[in-house]
């Protein structure tokens, strides 16, 4: 039997030359640069450690940024909400500010893993891991979030819709760069948002479909001026359905509109058949349900009465 277990990730040791703990961002960047692509950033570690054990990648050193001061704040500057790169899912879900001004993100953060995972796993790490099912990424896409990335060359700010490149791949190179903050505008009085997730279990469950929307309605609460609709994991990357968004723009805030949009969302998406997540047909049906329910909740939050 023992040869069977040899191949399991369970028995594999992770070997590293160094575990580095910088005290400033500048130090962290220097350490990464000294290793020239052979060291990788670690924040909460709940993805990195699993990936290292599964040999999804190999590194010679880890650079742990959890001791750098000033990276775990959740702040409001004007209408802009700013989350530091080390803010955890538990912190986001518990934040009064996020619950009041971006409830769709707070509720989504409660869907991640388990309490033990949420208290250490960071939202920034969730994005950099680049998984199509990342719970944090879907509402942040709907919120039109931007992320700041720092490297030896300075800082750049990237809209989240341009952030995801492919399965597990984003514009951040975690062997050379650091995602230092996430920012987005808080929801105004004519706006509403919602995230819904379908999974087999309430905790530690793989999502079958996640949908998040943010709607903006006119002053009379009759017309949908704008809607942001984000979906995962129904493609290699989490994405905004811009075709769908242009269809809904300017339409009356009625159940009829919602049914039409939900049908279209379902017809346009191309989820894979998956033994873990369900068949393509089933997930398409569920996209329909989730898009409709999300839009309904978001519109009601924005002050619309739907009929």
């Amino acid at each position: 039997m023992s040869h069977v277990f040899k191949d399991l990730h369970w028995s594999r040791d992770i070997s590293l030359k160094e575990y580095l703990v910088p005290e400033t961002l500048a130090q962290a960047l220097q350490m990464l640069s000294d290793y020239d692509g052979r060291a990788r950033l670690i924040a909460g570690g709940t993805d990195v450690i699993v990936d290292l054990r599964r040999r999804n990648y190999e590194v010679e050193a880890l650079v742990d940024i959890s001791r750098i001061p000033g990276m775990d704040g959740i702040d409001l500057e004007g209408d802009r909400i700013i989350l530091g790169g080390m803010v955890t899912h538990a912190q986001t879900a518990a934040s009064r500010l996020i619950r009041d001004k971006a409830e769709l993100l707070a509720s989504a953060c409660l869907n991640v893993g388990s309490p033990q995972i949420r208290s250490i796993a960071t939202l920034g790490g969730n994005l950099v891991s680049g998984q199509p099912a990342a719970d944090g990424s879907i509402p942040l896409l709907a919120l039109s979030a931007r992320v700041a990335i720092i490297s030896g060359k300075g800082e750049r700010v990237v809209p989240l819709k341009d952030f995801f490149l492919d399965l597990g791949k984003t514009v951040v190179d975690p062997t050379r760069e650091i995602l230092s903050r996430i920012e987005f505008d808080s929801l105004g009085p004519n706006q509403g948002g919602c995230t819904l997730r379908l999974s087999k279990r309430k905790a530690l469950g793989l999502p079958i479909v996640i949908c998040a929307v943010v709607v903006t309605v006119d002053a009379a609460k009759q017309v949908i001026d704008e809607a942001a609709i984000a979906l995962g994991p129904v493609a290699p990357i989490p994405y905004r359905d811009q075709g769908l968004e242009s269809v809904i723009q300017g339409k009356p805030a009625t159940m009829k509109t919602l049914h039409q949009v939900a049908e279209k969302a379902s017809a346009q998406c191309t989820p894979r058949d998956s033994l873990l997540r369900g068949s393509c047909d089933y997930r398409r049906e569920m996209v329909k349900v989730l898009v409709r329910r999300c839009l309904k909740t978001a519109l009601e939050q924005a002050g619309c009465t739907l009929n």
Partner: protein, 158 residues
Amino acid sequence: MSNIELSFTLNGKKVEAAVAPVKMLVDLLRETFNLTGTKVGCREGECGACTVLMDGEAYNSCLMPAHKVQGREVTTIEGLQQADGSLDPLQEAFMEAGAVQCGFCTPGMILNAKALLSKNPSPDEEEIRMALSGVLCRCTGYRKIVQAVKNAASESRS
């Protein structure tokens, strides 16, 4: 490979250890400190058998590089026992309610419950279930476990 010198508080005592880079906390606890109450289940953060408290909050020690405990306060299931040998009210409640079958998940269940009760002394059933949602039990079906946490909470209030 350069070892890391660590100092932290373990079950109320200051301790020191030299560990290899990226030694996981669960291995440090079991191998160096012989605290085998912390279990290794899945090593992927799915089962919660390795749960420990760090500064009162529950974490999976199988995913935690040991360096993260530098200067922190770690409590394992062994640390819940008082100096006079008496058990924590939660441990008593688990025995009373028969919330233990094979026992493998029990340390994780109790420590997650401990983290909950320290923040929220009167949780409702939903809050208890949420707090325990990161620990898998394959024997009892959770009912008695939830009951034990309820009993411990009302015990400590009376």
